[in-house]
Amino acid sequence: MDKTLGDWVVFVLLLAGALLMCGPFAWMISTSFKPGPEVFLYPPTPFTAEPQYENYVRIFSAIPFGRAIANSLIVSASVTILQLIICSLAAYAFACLRFRGREILFLIYLSALMVPSQVTLIPNFILVRTLGWIDTYQGLILPFAFSSFGTFLLRQYLKSIPQELMEAARMDGANHFQIYSTIVLPLAKPALGALAIFTFVAQWTISSGRSSPRPSPKCRSRPWRSAPSRDSTIPIGRCS
């Protein structure tokens, strides 16, 4: 009896918490249908009497929103695919091959996890500018195509693959690239999947740390669009 009562109390508390977590999303949706002046009404109205469905049509004409979404998709997908390839190659070397300096190099890769991205933000910006990559896709993609986090994650997973499998393949005359692509990669699917999700979500929601801090409209990705920026060339703040 005591236990079930406790369970109900916990359930109700969690439900209240869930409402708090969801509230802002509900408010975002409700506000998106309001006519301009009603957004600033006090007391606020939970639902508008005259929903403005055309708000959703207008963002595509008021700002190049489609372009922004396309840019975000292209950048996030490219970064994710490149990271999966580059990090898994490095992880294979660290987990399955023996070479001089392996431990030291791995520690150096790992220590990069501790460097805040803001430390490299300014030099990265200069580097990308020197390469002439401002406002280009490669400028938004290549600096993020490798991550220590991804290499660490995959290495831990690859280390758990039985060594005998790879030795058997070597007996059959397979080279390292064949072992990597036909044995190790298929076995590492769960870890690759996890890394793909982490990377894509992180890239999709990122807007700081980008190599070009004020991208031109052509290459501005989606999160930049929603920032109510005073010095932006497009009056985004007035689109709500």
């Binding site: 918490g17 023996r98 070479f99 990069a112 805040p116």
Partner: protein, 290 residues
């Protein structure tokens, strides 16, 4: 044979090495060098020795920024971890709808910070915001001006930060809790340990590796708070919410003082490094691995 393996290893590492050198090693070293210069991106570089560092230590705004960042980290991290742990413990009791709650609490983590901050800045708005409307409904007369007041702006940013990062820590705690075998807890219960005792003597020590990871990630992350400040307050009012990374951004990309910004970035790096190393050192005292 061994030489062939060595050559193969370096071939496998080549792509990552090129990118790591270009976009991590070179930038870290150059940020360090730039921090000793005066440079606006366009004119010639002018070496000033420790000038930027001395300047920062005498810069009233920078000292205020340090204080603000400390305030943000010290308040947001413990509250966030405590709530996340409570939620994870509650979910781990096997309440109905566990999956639903997990998804809902994790939703803010996968939301763009910019979009989330934008909605919260409507909610907090002191003229038409839902939060103050709610507060006045329950009889609060002295309504806080939130982002318009030097006292309440930082708490507003902290609330949004906790809301956004709660789910991440919660999911990690939940995974850690599910690794603790029921037999251990059953044994303790048989020995007559109360729920409170069991939490402190069994659950918490066994959860300490997860706690250690969450603590390090949260502290590093909250030292780097930027987007929330960028969208919600633009560091205002009167620099009340100006934090280290925002200050670096301001100096580097608004005032084009690359040297000054890089010196601030180095100080941030040093602080995070000291905190992380200190936690590594202290982990023997409270983290129990297996």
């Amino acid at each position: 044979m061994a030489r062939a393996e060595e050559r193969a290893a370096w071939l496998f590492l080549a792509p990552s090495l090129v990118l790591f050198l270009a976009f991590t090693v070179v930038p870290v070293i150059s940020a360090f060098i730039i921090s000793f210069t005066e440079w606006n991106l366009f004119n010639a570089v002018n070496f000033v020795g420790f000038g930027n560092y001395v300047g920062l230590l005498h810069d009233e705004i920078f000292l205020k920024v340090l204080g603000n960042t400390g305030y943000f980290v010290l308040v947001s991290v413990p509250i966030q971890i405590a709530i996340a742990l409570l939620c994870a413990l509650a979910l781990n009791r096997g309440v109905r709808g566990q999956t639903f709650f997990r998804v809902v609490y994790f939703l803010p983590v996968v939301t763009s910070t910019v979009a989330a901050a934008l909605v919260w800045s409507w909610l907090f708005n002191s003229n038409f915001g839902l939060i103050n409307a709610g507060l006045s409904l329950v009889g609060v007369t002295d309504l806080p001006k939130w982002m318009g007041s030097t006292k309440w702006a930082m708490p507003a940013v902290i609330i949004v930060s906790i809301w956004q990062n709660l789910g991440y820590a919660m999911v990690l705690f939940l995974a850690g809790l599910q690794n603790i075998h029921q037999e251990v807890r059953d044994a303790a219960e048989l020995d007559g340990a109360t729920g409170w005792d069991r939490f402190w003597t069994i659950t918490l020590p066994l959860l300490s590796p997860t706690m250690f990871f969450v603590l390090i990630i949260s502290i590093i992350g909250s030292f780097q708070v930027f987007e929330l400040v960028f969208v919600m307050t633009k560091a205002g009012p009167a620099n009340a919410t100006n934090t280290l990374v925002y200050y670096i951004y301001q100096n580097g990309f608004q005032f084009y003082q690359m040297g000054y910004a890089s010196a601030a970035a180095m100080i941030l790096f040093l602080i995070v490094l000291v905190f992380t190393l200190a936690q590594y050192r202290l982990q023997d005292r409270w983290v129990h691995y297996g």
